[in-house]
Symmetry: C2
Subunit: 240 residues, 2 copies
DNA sequence: ACAAAAGTGTTATCTTTACACCCATGT
DNA sequence: ACATGGGTGTAAAGATAACACTTTTGT
């Protein structure tokens, strides 16, 4: 049983979260830039308390960063390569930030703890982006949304994890009908289609897409949405 | 870094394997009965070495028990409840086997190590049952095949893990085309159908099933298989 | 000849796709 | 009036399901 910041975490296991949101017609994920010299980008991540369900840990990690309590979450893959550790990242960070202070790597318990081989459990989350107010933790310089198809290079295998999450979403989206977690209570069909097109990186025929989604029989048609645009106003829908 | 039998394993992480095989028209999985008093049944499981990929660990665990080197394996789910530990099982085992020897639980390092909360990574494997020669490890009384729909009660959440594996197989089987890993090099269409019917617990119309599988365009038709039965001999197939 | 199981073919039904057409909205 | 995007309908194409029919095998 080891300790990080006085917390009783399980050793050598991490959780990495790929948080999907939808905004301006784009599918995005939440990425933190670390508040250290050097452009370090990372997925929201954290560790698991000894007496905490792994699912609960993922929820806690995301609540800290999004303020949201009830988040749609799915565990999707374990990342467990033997050489999967933070050493390269930590050494670079120390080199760029603590070069003059002669950082004691070999006997620093935090360095020891963090530089071990880590197995990470990948979760993906679908959130209503408007409901999120990104919360900086003590190690974040920024916490922002990036288009899933234009991600900055992340530390460790962050980019690989994000791609695997997207692939899982492709597999799950029709089966679990979880797209709607990305949208506010009321939404238009075009918004649903935008998300599908981002997820699958291809266009869908508008009219057939509408039919397919309505045939799922999970949506209730509401009033029209008048945007001021000079075209027919689309209907709003909500989940039944 | 802790030690079990002198091995350098990662703490508090285990691997549980659901090994599927097909025999006598039935889908079966491999289950060990432990060589202790009390009817303890368990999935093939083990731990991960510090310098070992998790996938490699799963392969090693299965090679020890099946003798097979190249096994079709898929990681499918993490089992991470906070109360997931071996305590109840170990205490029962000690009560039934070491009652008179006043087993020192509190300071026995093996007990300490094993009774901690464990996160388990679930893998499922598909093997040609004929190629397997179950190998007893030092803790097994027997290692046998059980019909997936008639499993004995296992220690921990073994039964839950097996059910989750089956559910994953239902999802994967058409997409990954991995059924054929359950069969020998040459097999008949009926054998493929038997497996599908076990996996989905429902009947398929024979003629349509044949068409569906052949339309996948992954099989090559070979010679007929004469069994001595008084009916038309079925063709054998193999993967292209 | 016959029973049992395997293989082929045909038709009906359901799903998916492509696209024509009409409708509402603001300038 | 018209450009723009939204909604409905229809027909063609493709996939799935039901089932009749034929073939092969050993007794």
């Amino acid at each position: 049983m080891e300790v990080l910041n006085g917390k009783n975490y399980i050793n050598q296991i991490a959780i990495d979260c790929v948080v999907f949101g939808y905004e301006d017609g784009q599918l995005k994920i939440l990425i933190s830039q670390l508040k250290y010299k050097g452009d370090f980008y990372a997925l929201p991540n954290g560790f698991i308390f000894q007496e905490e369900n792994t699912d609960a840990a993922a929820h806690r990690i995301l609540q800290e960063r999004t303020g949201l309590k009830d988040i749609y979450l799915e565990e999707f893959k374990v990342f467990g390569k033997a050489d999967r550790n933070n050493k390269a990242f930590l050494d670079k960070l120390i080199e760029l930030n603590y070069a003059d202070t002669a950082f004691e790597q070999t006997h620093n318990p935090m360095y020891e703890w963090l530089s071990k081989r880590f197995i990470s459990i990948g979760y993906y989350a679908l959130v209503n982006i408007k409901a999120v107010e990104p919360q900086l933790t003590e190690i974040d310089k920024s916490l922002e949304w990036y288009n899933i198809h234009e991600l900055p290079p992340m530390i460790m295998d962050g980019n690989e994890i994000a791609q695997a999450a997207l692939k899982t979403l492709q597999r799950d989206i029709d089966e679990k009908l979880n797209v709607f977690n990305l949208l506010p209570e009321k939404f238009t069909m075009k918004e649903v289609q935008d998300i599908y097109e981002s997820v699958f990186e291809r266009a869908f025929v508008r009219t057939n897409f509408q039919k397919k989604i309505l045939d799922l029989n999970v949506l209730e048609r509401l009033e029209k949405k008048f945007t001021g645009a000079k075209n027919k106003a689309p209907y709003l829908y909500k989940l039944k």
